[in-house]
């Protein structure tokens, strides 16, 4: 971990409190995502993992706390951030094709009225190719398997050519081949100097996949390099003393 990372972290969340109307989901959570590394947010169900990610994207309005991207307000840095939502959050029966979903990643370039040119299509196709989905470009999205849908979402994020990638449970309910394909792409991004942050569930894969972890249970229990932070003691504290079987 570089010492300078803290000074201009791609994403820095401080003292975040979020409530959806009832009891707070997050109370005073902190998160620092170091540049050029793969970070996982882990914690039990209801720990506020997705909420933390959504707040970091400005999708949820917090009660209090500050969120900065490269030391600037979020709104100023949107072009540098790509988001991969949970697969279950959209209606896959929507009448559209795989290629059109990937093209959505180019929205900031296309805007309202600019026509979709061949080079836009080529770029979207190239991103689909990186996740092994270019053959299915003309498919109706509802015909894809869960793993294939997840890969299309990743291709859409790749098309944004961002520097920070935020993924909400990218491995939930996908097949082993998709998981391998996704992790290859994500490690490729990291090796090219990009920053990746995932909400993650499967504790057994954390040491292999991630350089950095944030252990969350309504507040930040611990965060730091996986080697020193992903310890039994910290996990016990995160999971209320009941160590999940996978760890």
């Amino acid at each position: 971990m570089k010492d300078t990372a803290l000074l201009s972290a791609p994403l820095q969340v401080q003292d975040l409190t979020v409530s959806y109307g009832g009891d707070p989901v997050l109370t005073g959570a902190d998160l620092t995502v170091p540049e050029g590394e793969m970070t996982a947010i882990i914690g039990p169900n209801g720990a506020g993992k997705s909420t933390l990610l959504k707040s970091a994207l400005g999708l949820v309005k917090p009660l209090s706390g500050t969120i900065t991207a490269w030391d600037q307000p979020l709104a100023a840095q949107r072009d540098r951030i790509a988001y991969v939502p949970q697969r279950a959050s959209v209606d896959w029966d929507f009448p559209t094709t795989v290629l059109e979903v990937a093209l959505m990643g180019l929205y900031r370039q296309l805007g309202l009225l600019r026509r979709t040119r061949p080079h836009h299509r080529d770029k979207a196709l190239a991103c689909l190719d990186r996740v092994g989905m270019s053959d299915l470009a003309d498919r109706q999205i509802g015909q894809l398997s869960g793993g294939q849908q997840q890969r299309v979402f990743l291709a859409r994020a790749l098309a944004q050519e961002a520097e920070l990638y935020l993924l909400d449970e990218p491995f939930a309910g996908v097949d082993a081949a998709t998981e391998a394909a996704i992790i290859t792409v994500l490690h490729g991004l990291r090796d090219a100097g990009k920053t990746v942050l995932c909400v993650h569930h499967d504790l057994s894969t954390v040491p292999r996949y991630f350089d950095h972890v944030c252990l969350l249970n309504r507040h930040t229990v611990a965060q730091g390099p996986t080697a020193t932070t992903f310890t039994d003691a910290n996990l016990m504290r995160t999971y209320d003393g009941r160590l999940p079987t996978a760890a």
Partner: protein, 300 residues
């Protein structure tokens, strides 16, 4: 022929334009699981026009439309507030708001002396398409005569204009609207104003409903918001094609419904005609039934 031009062509055109104007935003309402917003909006038209009448004392088109539009917006805002702050399920929130507003409209109407003017619940529900005739259409060559054309029912111009504005708005905002409809969270992460888009769509729907109710009544409005887009969804898996199909189905419902209502009873030997608005809704339902039985993409 001149009888057709004078008596049937204007209402048929107005009905078709109204049907298409409602079907267009209906496509997005369908995909957003908001079809019943159209239902709610059309119920609130009644209190809107009654209040407008009470305030202005006239039945002129502009105050009526403004009143209806204001009521539609109020309904949408109330539904959203009750849903969000009262944590009430959207369908139930809608039910609370539109039934209450409709009841208030009926009560106001009963309390007001409207005997002298043509303002009643039936009119708001099923309009009066058949009365939109064009007397100068009897003049030979009326279709090319600027003087005769100037006396076409004003509803025709109004409906054409409304359709044009809605089509233009959807064309301009096509990309963000489709994106936010498919994946609201992703659209938000790109910095798109998703709430404004959603409200804009409702405003389009309200415009269509308000412009259409006067000529054709609320029944057609609700049927056209839902039936042509729903039938179209069962015909294709491509959003642009879906919209084209929905426009075709809307136009077909309006023309076929009008013809059946006007001439159907005559063919059966009866003297009078039946409600064109009701018949147009019925035809759109038959089309939906057909596509539900045999549409190529009826199943996911």
């Amino acid at each position: 022929m001149s009888e057709f031009i004078a008596l049937s062509l204007p209402p048929m055109l107005i009905g078709t334009l109204a049907a298409m104007a409602c079907a267009l935003p209906g496509n997005f309402l369908l995909l957003r699981r908001q079809s019943l917003i159209g239902d709610a909006i059309s119920h609130t038209v009644l209190p809107g026009i009654v209040v407008a009448f009470l305030l202005t004392g006239s039945l002129a088109a502009l105050p009526m439309m403004l009143g209806a539009a204001a009521a539609a917006l109020l309904a949408v805002v109330l539904i959203e507030l009750i849903r969000r702050f009262g944590r009430v399920e959207p369908g139930a929130a809608m039910g609370v708001v539109f039934t209450t507003m409709f009841a208030a409209g009926v009560l106001l109407l009963e309390q007001t002396d409207t005997a002298s003017v043509h303002l009643d619940v039936e009119h708001a529900l099923y309009g009066n398409l058949e009365s939109l005739i064009w007397l100068d259409g009897f003049v030979p060559g009326a279709l090319t005569d600027p003087q005769a054309l100037a006396t076409l029912p004003p509803e025709l111009t109004r409906m054409a204009l409304t359709l044009a504005v809605i089509a233009l708005a959807l064309w301009i905002f096509w990309r963000p609207l489709a994106l936010a409809t498919f994946d609201n969270g992703f659209a938000q992460s790109l910095g798109l104003p998703v709430t404004t888009l959603s409200l804009g769509l409702v405003v389009c729907a309200a415009m269509a409903a308000v412009a259409a109710f006067d000529a054709v009544g609320s029944i057609i409005v609700i049927a056209m918001f839902i039936c042509p887009p729903a039938s179209a969804r069962l015909m294709t898996n491509d959003l642009k094609h879906q919209i084209a199909w929905s426009l075709a189905f809307a136009a077909l419902s309006a023309t076929l419904g009008y013809v059946l209502a006007g001439y159907g009873p005559l063919w059966l030997g009866a003297e009078a005609s039946v409600s064109a608005a009701g018949m147009i809704a019925t035809v759109s339902g038959l089309i939906l039934g057909g596509t539900a039985l045999a549409g190529p993409h009826r199943k996911a």
